[in-house]
Symmetry: C3
Subunit: 289 residues, 3 copies
């Protein structure tokens, strides 16, 4: 949906952080310190540190929903890492859009695999690419490997081509429900909640809505399941934006990531109907007759 | 209260963000990406992204309580936008203090209208000033209009003088209770809660307190109403700072924005007495006899 | 544990903020504005603004757990300040590692006193070193003194050597339980909770664990007390990292700050066992027989 502008891909120093480390502890400060100790001129920008702890799916979609807006060459450090220290691979990836991602190989690339797609995947040689003196630590690769390598990539001390061998195997992916149409019914996954508003983000792209010839003003019926149990169902208008329905009323719309969203105008859909997001949460949408 | 120093008003690239987008989703990251894709050298600073969802009054006072501390020329992107996509105007404003504000026309300028005051108000011509390719999106002007235009203003690609026509009508303002003195009673609004401490921020300026000849050490009686219902009343000393009263005791004081504040020393006034802020929340203060 | 690299100690402009001001109000924005109004080229980085309100101990350890990762010369503005406006001293400190800290004299330096240690402690002459026009405010030294002086230190307008007299007395320290070994039992304090994961951070260094010849794979028994009351006790394996135990199982490990930590793999130890941190929280660890 965006044309990526390679003209900006200079040798600039821009690092964007996305983690579940929270905004209260020493984690984020230590990562920033490590980067700035390599070169104080590196520009560090926070995307979020409040991904739900260990929620790899939320991190994956948060990354894919922002990455194409950033200049090519930006280095994304994406750390949600429940398997830290257990031998899972550390990856350095170049996307088809010219962005760099450093992350654990645990499914966090699931959403960007399709869009923008991966061009080069490297397994970081950790022995040669970790913060000197950090060998004794086993629980904080965000600082000791990912931040450190991001800083060295940003300054050109290392390059993604020599950070490690090309990955031979498949990367880990999350078993997310693919969005489909069958018999005028669209099925898809609820991939994250848009906090603090409580909007539901599905993986159903605008194209599927258009295939079913759903138009602004149509009424949609929907069912939401967790692990095959029906949690909530209802009917709502498909509109362009929140204020087209009454306050406290539900709506369906194409969200800012070009996928189907569900919301309550001036309310919180997730909280109101006790709906959450994750690999076990599905949604079915029926087109109007 | 501050002398604005125009000597700093160089053509520098400083953008400050204030939104209700939260610190967990893709919203803030997308805004920052759009700005940095225009020019990686633009300096972006976060004021807050945790304004209560849709709380325009809180955003308005948070803006007015910080703006004069920033260098003239700073571009404030202020987005609390429940009416997004419904035809409300997008504004670009120059204040009397030489600051730039980009925001929806929904009341968010209420507090800065008086202080520092508005010098030039433009209605952004959205067709010519939105992120290319974003026409299909109706719910995220923070990214598609305000961040994009802030980036272009910061680099000088556009100027506030040619971003749109001068606003002819009045801007939208919130119907906030003006602070007054009648018969030795001061009445005013509770405009926000100072999280995380739970202090009450009123719109009663220091001058009204001085008019009533209230002095440090005086005892004040007060009543707090929501929609004309009495919620809480009591008596408390008027002092300079928190630690002048016992722990867990209430106090009144002139806060860091030069208005009357109410707090509990080492406690949380808002939570303790179930007092909140907003257009329906009023406070009455009686001077000592 | 880290070798401090003095080669980076140029006259660069790097300020790191650590406060309990929260991420919602005008406090942080006002501090940043004051700094950038001194010089827009100063680089400001957030460590955290979500230290628990008034929790000086948490701030102290959060500072000490990050400071050595930052380049020497970095100016840390650390403000948790329940005694603001009451005459407690404002300090400007140079550590043995070449870092600068601006903070109230209220115990917030307790953890850095030992590591990295303090080299020069100055009492800020507030009359000469506060934001012009701020004399009428008594509740926000974070803005009016600490941010203002950090900006002037960053630009070289003032120097720590002339910001005030050398401190003659002892600085305030928190009465924290020293970690000890007696009869094969290690005793120490629980100094903070690692949010959002709920891990317990103790002040028991790796060296004490090694002194007791505790090895990866050993089973440890532990007791946790608040004010001498037993809150929780149990047994858990001492391992290198979280995923070595089953999901929802507890573990002990050397954390990323080189001290003993307690956690639940994919869980929240603090919430599960209602254990908190602070001066009254103690832990006893028994080595295997």
């Amino acid at each position: 949906m965006l044309e990526i502008n390679y003209k900006h891909m200079k040798n600039k120093k821009l690092i964007a952080l996305l983690t579940d480390f929270g905004d209260r502890g020493h984690f984020v400060g230590a990562m920033k310190g490590v980067i700035l100790d390599i070169d104080q001129d590196i520009k560090i920008t926070d995307i979020s540190h409040n991904i739900e702890p260990q929620n790899i799916l939320e991190a994956s979609y948060t990354l894919s929903d922002t990455i194409l807006y950033w200049p090519a060459g930006t280095i994304f450090v994406v750390v949600v890492d429940p398997g830290v220290g257990l031998g899972r691979k550390s990856l350095a990836v170049r996307t088809r859009s010219g962005h760099i991602i450093l992350c654990p190989d645990n499914g966090i690339l699931t959403a960007v695999m399709n869009n923008p797609g991966l061009e080069d995947v490297r397994v970081i040689s950790e022995a040669m690419n970790r913060l000197p003196g950090s060998e004794m630590f086993h629980t904080f690769h965000g600082r000791d490997i990912f931040a450190y390598d991001a800083g060295r990539l940003a300054t050109g001390q290392i390059d993604i081509d020599n950070i490690g061998f090309k990955m031979e195997e498949q990367i880990v992916t999350l078993p997310i429900q693919i969005s489909t149409i069958k018999y005028k019914t669209i099925e898809g996954a609820i991939v994250k909640i848009e906090h603090p508003f409580g909007n539901l983000c599905t993986n159903i792209p605008r194209a599927l809505i258009e295939d079913l010839e759903i138009m602004a003003g149509d009424s949609l019926s929907y069912e939401i399941f967790e692990s095959e149990g029906l949690i909530h169902k209802g009917e709502m208008p498909f509109v362009n934006t929140f204020g087209e329905v009454n306050q406290e009323s539900p709506l369906a719309y194409i969200d800012s990531s070009n996928r189907l969203g569900l919301a309550i105008n001036m309310g919180n859909f997730s909280r109101e109907y006790k709906v959450n997001a994750g690999l076990s949460w599905l949604i079915r949408i029926k087109s109007p007759d």
